[in-house]
Point group: C2
Chain length 474, copies 2
C-alpha cells in the first residue's frame, strides 16, 4: 500500500477536515521550545476513542509510525514527528469531553485532549481540587500530562500526574482499546498496566481518557517567603515545615539569588523581596482545611521557630490573596526572565533531598572551574529534590555562541554528577528525543533491557512514537 492509500483511509475514518497536510500541519510539527521541527505524512485529528482505534489500526496495518500529540508543550521533543515525512501525527485535541464527575467517589473521567486548566476549573465548579498544576497548564492536555507523568508545584503533597490517576483508557499499538477507566482506589487483579502507560511518552499506546482523583478544596491557601543563608538551612527548614504542617504543606520552592536577580532585572515591577542580601529564598505554601487564620497561625509559628533555630534570616507571610499570587508570580517568572537574559543550558534533575546541598556545591564548583564566570540559575521544587539547574553564559559574553560551544560539556558534567548522587537526569520532563541518547549512560543495562523487552512485547512493530525514550533497535 502507499502513503496515499493510508491518507484516504484516515480521511474515511475522521473526515477530510481532520486530516491535515502542508501548511495546515505546520503548527503541529514545530517543537514548543523551537529547537526542532519535524515533517509529518499528515496530521490526523480523531474525535472519539473509536476513531483513534481505527486510525491506529490502519497505521499499524500499513506499518506506519504514529506520534501522539496533546498540547505539544513538551520540552524534550517527544511529541513532534521526525523529519522523514512518513509518520502520522495523531492529535488528541478534539477529544475534550468531561465524561463524568463522581462527587462521592471524588473522581472525574475526562478525555485526553482536555486542557489541564479547563479540568482544574471543572473540578473547582464541582467543589473539588484537581491538584495538578504546572506552567503550561493553559495549553497542555491531560493526555500529555499522563503520557509524560507531569510534575509541577504541588507534587510535594499530591504526587506526580501518575499519583492522581486511577484509571486509563488506552488504544494499544494494534488498535485495540484497553478499557481501564477504573474509579477504584484499590484493585489488585494483576499487573499495573495503568502505571506502565503513564510516563511511557506514547511509545506503548495512545491514552484516550483517564479517571482522575479529586481532592477536597482547601479552605485557604497562604504563602510565606523566607530568606536563608545556605541550602543546609533550606533543608532544615523543609524538615521543620513537614513536621509542623504535615499534609498542609503543599509547596516548598527554592530560588537562588541570581534567579531572583534576573526576575528583578527584567520584571522590576514584580518587586522581588529579600533577594539582594541573601543567597537563597524559599516560597512556602500552606493549604489549610480550616481557615486563612489557621494557616496564618501555622506559618507564623513555623517561621518563629525557624528564626529561633537560626534557619531563617528574614521572612514575610503574605498579607492577602493578592500577595499570595504576587509571590507565586515571582517564582513562576524565573523561566521567562531567563529567556529574556538570553540563551542558556537547562537541566531538569532530581537527587535525594538530603543530597541537594552537596550536589549544588560540587556542580557549581566544577562548572566555575571549567568555565569561569558562568552564572547559575538554580531553582525548583526542593521538597521533591527537583532542581531546574540552569546555566547562563558569563556576563558580557555572547550567549548563543557560548551555549553552542559548551552545552554538551556542561550537561555531561551535570548529569554525571547527578548520577553520582543517585539522581535522575529527567525529573519531570521525560526523555523524548532529547535525552534518549543519554539513557544508556545513566540507567543500568538491566533496566534498559527490561524496558526494551516491554516495548517489544507491547509494540512489536515499533510503530508507536518510535525512537522516543528508547532508541529504535535495528
Amino acid at each position: 500500500m502507499t502513503p496515499l492509500n493510508l491518507i484516504e483511509t484516515l480521511i474515511g475514518i475522521v473526515g477530510p477536515s481532520h486530516v491535515l497536510t502542508g501548511d495546515d500541519a505546520d503548527s503541529y510539527e514545530q517543537d514548543w521550545r523551537r529547537r526542532g521541527r519535524g515533517k509529518a505524512l499528515c496530521v490526523v485529528r480523531p474525535g472519539s476513542t473509536d476513531q483513534v482505534a481505527r486510525v491506529v489500526k490502519a497505521c499499524s496495518e500499513h506499518g506506519v509510525a504514529i506520534v501522539p500529540q496533546g498540547g505539544n508543550t513538551g520540552l524534550v521533543g517527544g511529541s513532534i514527528p521526525d523529519g522523514s515525512g512518513t509518520q502520522v501525527l495523531l492529535s488528541l485535541r478534539r477529544m475534550i469531553a468531561v465524561r463524568a464527575i463522581d462527587p462521592q467517589n471524588m473522581t472525574m473521567t475526562v478525555e485526553a485532549g482536555c486542557v489541564l486548566q479547563s479540568l482544574q476549573e471543572a473540578a473547582d465548579q464541582a467543589g473539588f481540587l484537581l491538584p495538578l498544576s504546572l506552567g503550561a497548564e493553559g495549553s497542555c492536555t491531560i493526555g500529555g500530562n499522563l503520557a509524560t507523568n507531569a510534575g509541577g508545584t504541588q507534587v510535594l503533597r499530591y504526587g506526580n500526574a501518575r499519583d492522581l490517576c486511577l484509571g486509563l483508557e488506552v488504544v494499544t499499538p494494534q488498535g485495540d482499546v484497553w478499557e481501564g477507566l477504573s474509579g477504584l482506589r484499590k484493585d489488585n487483579t494483576g499487573y499495573d498496566l495503568r502505571d506502565l502507560f503513564v510516563g511511557s511518552e506514547g511509545t506503548l499506546g495512545v491514552i484516550t481518557s483517564a479517571t482522575l482523583k479529586l481532592y477536597p478544596k482547601p479552605a485557604a491557601q497562604l504563602t510565606a517567603w523566607a530568606a536563608l543563608a545556605s541550602l543546609e538551612d533550606a533543608n532544615r527548614l523543609l524538615g521543620l515545615a513537614h513536621r509542623r504542617a504535615g499534609a498542609s504543606l503543599t509547596g516548598f520552592e527554592l530560588m537562588n539569588r541570581f534567579s531572583l536577580e534576573l526576575v528583578d532585572k527584567h520584571y522590576p515591577h514584580l518587586r522581588v523581596p529579600m533577594w539582594r542580601e541573601h543567597a537563597w529564598c524559599v516560597l512556602i505554601e500552606i493549604s489549610d482545611a480550616e481557615s486563612e487564620l489557621h494557616a496564618r497561625g501555622l506559618l507564623e509559628q513555623l517561621l518563629e521557630n525557624a528564626f529561633e533555630e537560626g534557619l531563617v534570616a528574614d521572612a514575610i507571610v503574605a498579607e492577602n490573596l493578592k500577595q499570595v499570587h504576587d509571590l507565586w508570580h515571582i517564582r513562576e517568572s524565573i523561566t521567562l526572565a531567563q529567556t529574556e537574559e538570553g540563551f542558556n543550558v537547562k537541566h531538569d534533575i532530581s537527587v535525594p533531598v538530603s543530597r541537594i546541598p552537596e550536589f549544588v556545591r560540587q556542580a557549581d564548583a566544577a562548572l566555575s572551574a571549567a568555565l569561569p564566570g558562568v552564572r547559575f540559575v538554580t531553582f525548583g521544587h526542593l521538597g521533591d529534590g527537583n532542581l531546574h539547574y540552569n546555566i547562563q553564559a558569563p556576563a558580557g559574553s555572547d550567549a548563543p555562541t557560548f551555549v553552542t560551544a559548551h552545552e554538551a560539556a556542561i550537561s555531561t558534567l551535570v548529569y554525571d554528577l547527578v548520577s553520582q548522587h543517585a539522581g535522575s537526569i529527567s525529573a519531570e520532563h521525560g526523555v523524548g528525543e532529547l535525552k534518549r541518547h543519554k539513557l544508556p549512560q545513566h540507567k543500568s543495562a538491566v533496566a534498559l533491557n527490561l524496558m526494551r523487552a516491554i516495548k517489544s512485547a507491547i509494540d512489536p512493530l515499533n510503530t508507536m512514537n518510535p525512537g522516543r525514550v528508547l532508541e529504535s533497535s535495528t
Copy 2:
C-alpha cells in the same frame, strides 16, 4: 541435570543449613488460611541479594520454578508451592537489614524480609511514620507487602503499599539484579518498572529491597464512633469528613450490625457501642499535625454538623488513647469473631465509593433470595470503596456443609455484581492461586493479553511463581 544437582548447587550458594527439605520445610508449605498445602523441592533461605541472584540463576538454568515467600500471610495461596515437589520455595525472611534511613529525604531503604511491624518501629524511632498498617503486620514482610500491593487501614490518606514505595531492588527471572533503589520523588527516565513489579505477586521477579516514603508523625490521633441508619448516610458523612478534615482524615471504617453483633457475642468484654439500635457504625480516625485538642475540636465539629444534617444517630469521640485503641480493637476483631462463629465465604472487593449502597442492597437481596437466612458480615474501608463482604451460613445451619455447598455460587453472584458496578474482585489481597481462574470473566481480553505479553517478555521460561495471577500457558 537432576533436582539433586540443583539442591547441591543451592547448598553451595547459601550453605547447608539454609536449604530445607522434609519436615523442616513443612511450615513454609502450609497456606496461611489453611486451605491448601504444597510440597517444595526444597526451601532455600538466601541471606543477601547476591545469593538470591545466584539461586534464581541456578533455578533458571535448571528450568526449575521458584515461589518467592515473605511472611507467608497471603490470603490467596500465592506464596506456597504447588503439590508437585518440583518447585523451589525462596524464603526472603533472612534478609532483614534496614539498610539506611535518610531523615532529610524522609525515606528508609530496607530488605524484603523485614517484618512490617519492625519497620513501623524503626521509622517511629527515627521520628517518622511508616503508614502501612494491616492485620498481619506482626508477621508479614515488606517484600510480600510490595509484591502484593498490600492495602490496610490508612489507604484513604497514604495509599496502598505501591504509593509508599519510591524504589526497588529486584532479581529478574534470569538472575540479574535491577538496582532501582531510588530515593527520588521525581524520575521520568523511562518506563515505570517499579510499579510493574509492585503487585506482580512474584511472577516477574523477586523483590529483595525497597526504598519507602516516610511521613511526619502526627501530633495526635483520635477516633470517633458513629451510628448511622443507611449506607447513603455513611457516604454523605464520608464526604463531609473529607471536606472538614482534608488530609487529617486517615481512617473511615464501616461495620454493619451483624459484624458487630459477632464481636459482641464472642468478645463481650470489648463492649461494642451502639450496635444494637443501628444498622451501621463507622469508625473515623483523625491524624492531627497540631494536637489532640485540635483533633478533638475537629471531630466534635464534624459530628455536630453531621447531627444537624441528620446523618448521624449517635456518636462518641474517644476520651483518651486507651479508648482510641479499644475502638480500633473492636473493628479489628471482626475477622476473628467471624472465625469463631464458623466457616464463611469471604470477598475482598471494591467498587467506586458512590456505588457502595446500591451494590450492597443488590447483593444482599440476591443472596437472601437464593439462600434464605444467610447472614452478611459487611465491613471494611469505606473511604477506599473496599468492602470485606462476607457471608455467614444461616443461624442454626451446619456452616461447613453450607460453605462447601454454596461457596462457588455465592462468589459468582457477588463477583458478577461487582463487575456490573465497575469494581474489582480483589481489592487488596491479590489474585494468587485462588482467583486466577476468575480473571478471564472479570478482566477484558485486551488487559489479559497485555499482561501475558509482559509476563512472556520478562519471564519467557515461566519459572517465576508460575500459574499465579495468570494461568500458565501451554
